[in-house]
Symmetry: C2
Subunit: 404 residues, 2 copies
């Protein structure tokens, strides 16, 4: 029977529950003496190549539980997108440390890295089992009903829009909230969960799955504002022109690119400011405010979905059980059963790696500026229990006396 | 003995607990039959002038409790800053509706309005008792140890920086978080509560109480980044040049002013973007990200301090008890007793109205880019119980094998 070390790492953008998956795997691994040690690699594959490992077997259960409840990647993360040579170095380090199992928590780029490492170890005839554990607030992994990290980020976005809408009711005007999501609109769409009653915002939701038409946008904002005296808008950072160019790129003075050659969309307020300026100048509305939720939405301490916490934990434990049972390499996927339970499956790495899931047409309203009830039904159980419910005064207007 | 109606209104920027004060006053008022009805004015003084009142006596206790737990102003708010004529119209409406008591929840502008209405009713010989109830996330009211709304916003800022710092540890670089506060740095300073261990950010804190020197800023960022490989920075939206001009104004292409002639600082990401661009170009650091916390920090649903909730509630109840006991007009103030309890007092409206409290020197580190332990001691009890505590792995490095 296979024995040896298990190496685990975290890649890509942190989430509020990525440490749940780490801790789920570590605690499960401790149940099996065949897993001699659990190594954690600092900063993902970069740490593997640099042999920057910590011994997770030495952590107390109490400390691991505290880490599970802490957002962001406790091991550190990386944006490195390894090529074949890089993957060979990963493999060489894993082999040198006599790893028998490699678990990598991350998004579709991470799944791709796991696939290449898996292929390299097969070529070399080294017996290494490789598993990808899903993680992304973007919810853009194929084969998954949803991905760990998304429900908690969605809950943050919903609670943020609840508050922004209440604020906008108190001091009416136009509010634009820009939400993360380069290609997939799921997280922006989650703003819809902020609506609990008639007239609640967001009144308009713009997703990267539909091309963004400035004139249509202004006309829709005007229409809502004329009717309600206010308008709350959720916009994905990834919205793009009819020719596919992201708006933030078209108007950014200095375009910053990351290591993947991707254009930086987050960590700048340019898109919100641009849209606000447009509304102000084209519609003559005075009170127009824009917020860019930025990094708050993915690592805020103290806003997670209990469903997300449980599932992320289970994803880690499931991967270890699969590993121990001798399953072949693969990517853990969450599958929905009814309304609402989940099951976990191991799917082929090529089905997930490097691929992007976007919102399907049944989740997007025909007008292209809202979601459908089907999406709201899909989203609701993910947000977890005890989602705050704003209340409002019932009314009971007093008759005027002066009637000026 | 005086009897009649009590009119209550909410003014200025909403907070997460302003409805606690509203509900505290309404529930307390119900205990006294002499208070025949409780009217709420929609959108502050504007609602009073327009006779836009609702009967709060008709609300159930259960609904009022739900409203107390809801952020933002349930009655709606206003940015109107009434002049003498406007105040006379307020007075005329209150008189027409036979109000005996007027309670107005808000900041220093609101206190000023209460003072003018109080003076007008005295001049007219009409027996109206006027009370100002403190509320502001800026914590900038004189006579108060702190103001309702600040502790909850401070908690949000602390939790946001905890998350941003964890994120920045995972993917190192420079992070700039811009926090509300036009003249007072209290809320930005609250970011210090995010630090729970060695090396935690924010590593630098810039307040409007100290003039902002761009060269010093860049040198301090470089110093932290050189030492730690990363840097988390809290910046007040109100930071200003040595000549007193807010930075956001100096560099804003289109300066937007509100009804008070104040320049719009919130609802735009310009300042964060400006600082990030400076860091990128002057220091050559690649990963530089900026977030502007914007409206999230004052109305986020689901992040309040229990201390703040209790105190805001009590401020409303205290005002009604003072009114019933026949106290003269005044502003409710929170006073600290020891470490930590509070008492409430009624102070002269002129001591609060139109005046701004800023952070004193003992709260600001000599270097001007951090707070002092005295401020941290002042802040800690306000944040409430169960402030999340991030955890981290203990280490236990594994010896290298390949040593490349």
């Amino acid at each position: 029977m296979r024995s040896g070390k298990l190496v685990i790492a975290q890649g890509g953008g942190p989430t509020a529950v990525i440490n749940q998956s780490l801790v789920g795997a570590v605690l499960e691994a401790r149940l099996f003496p065949r897993i001699e040690r659990v190594y954690g690699a600092h900063h993902g594959v970069r740490g593997i190549v640099n042999e920057d490992f910590v011994d997770l077997s030495a952590e107390s259960r109490a400390d691991l539980e505290a880490i599970a409840a802490t957002p962001s990647a406790a091991l550190g993360s990386t944006r490195d997108k390894p090529d074949l040579d890089y993957c060979r170095n990963i493999f060489a380090s894993l082999k040198a440390h006599r790893a028998s199992w490699f678990l990598y928590i991350g998004g579709n780029d991470t799944a791709n890295t796991v696939r290449i490492v898996s292929e390299e170890s097969a070529k070399e005839g080294y017996d290494l089992r490789c598993f990808h554990l899903p993680k992304t607030i973007d919810n853009d992994l194929l084969e998954n009903d949803h991905t760990p990290g998304f429900p908690s980020a969605a809950r943050f976005v919903a609670q943020a829009f609840m508050g922004a809408d209440l604020d906008n009711r108190a001091l009416p005007g136009v509010y634009v909230g820009v939400v993360m999501g380069r290609d997939s609109g799921f997280l922006t769409a989650a703003s819809a969960a902020a609506r609990t009653g008639e007239g609640d915002g967001p009144h308009l939701i713009y997703l990267p799955e539909r091309s963004f038409d400035g004139a249509k946008f202004l006309s829709e904002v005007k229409s809502v504002h004329d009717r309600r005296g206010r308008c709350v808008i959720a916009v994905s950072e990834g919205i793009r022109d009819t020719d596919g160019t992201p708006l933030s790129v078209r108007f950014a003075e200095n375009v910053v690119k990351d290591a993947h050659g991707n254009i930086q969309l987050s960590g700048t307020g340019a898109l919100a400011d641009l849209l606000c300026d447009e509304i102000r100048s084209a519609l003559g509305i005075k009170r127009v405010r824009g917020d860019t939720f930025g990094y708050l939405q993915r690592s805020f301490v103290g806003c997670t979905s209990d469903v997300d916490r449980r599932e992320a934990r289970e994803v880690g434990a499931f991967a270890v059980r699969q590993a121990i049972r001798g399953a072949g390499d693969g990517s853990v996927a969450i599958q929905r059963i009814g309304d609402y339970a989940v099951d976990y499956a191991l799917v082929d790495l090529v089905k997930v790696g490097g691929k992007t899931r976007v919102m399907t047409d049944d989740f997007i309203a025909p007008a292209g500026s809202d979601v459908t009830p089907a999406f709201e039904k899909y989203l609701r159980p993910l947000l977890g229990s005890d989602l705050p419910q704003p209340a409002r005064l019932r009314g009971g207007a007093i008759a005027k006396v002066l009637k000026r």
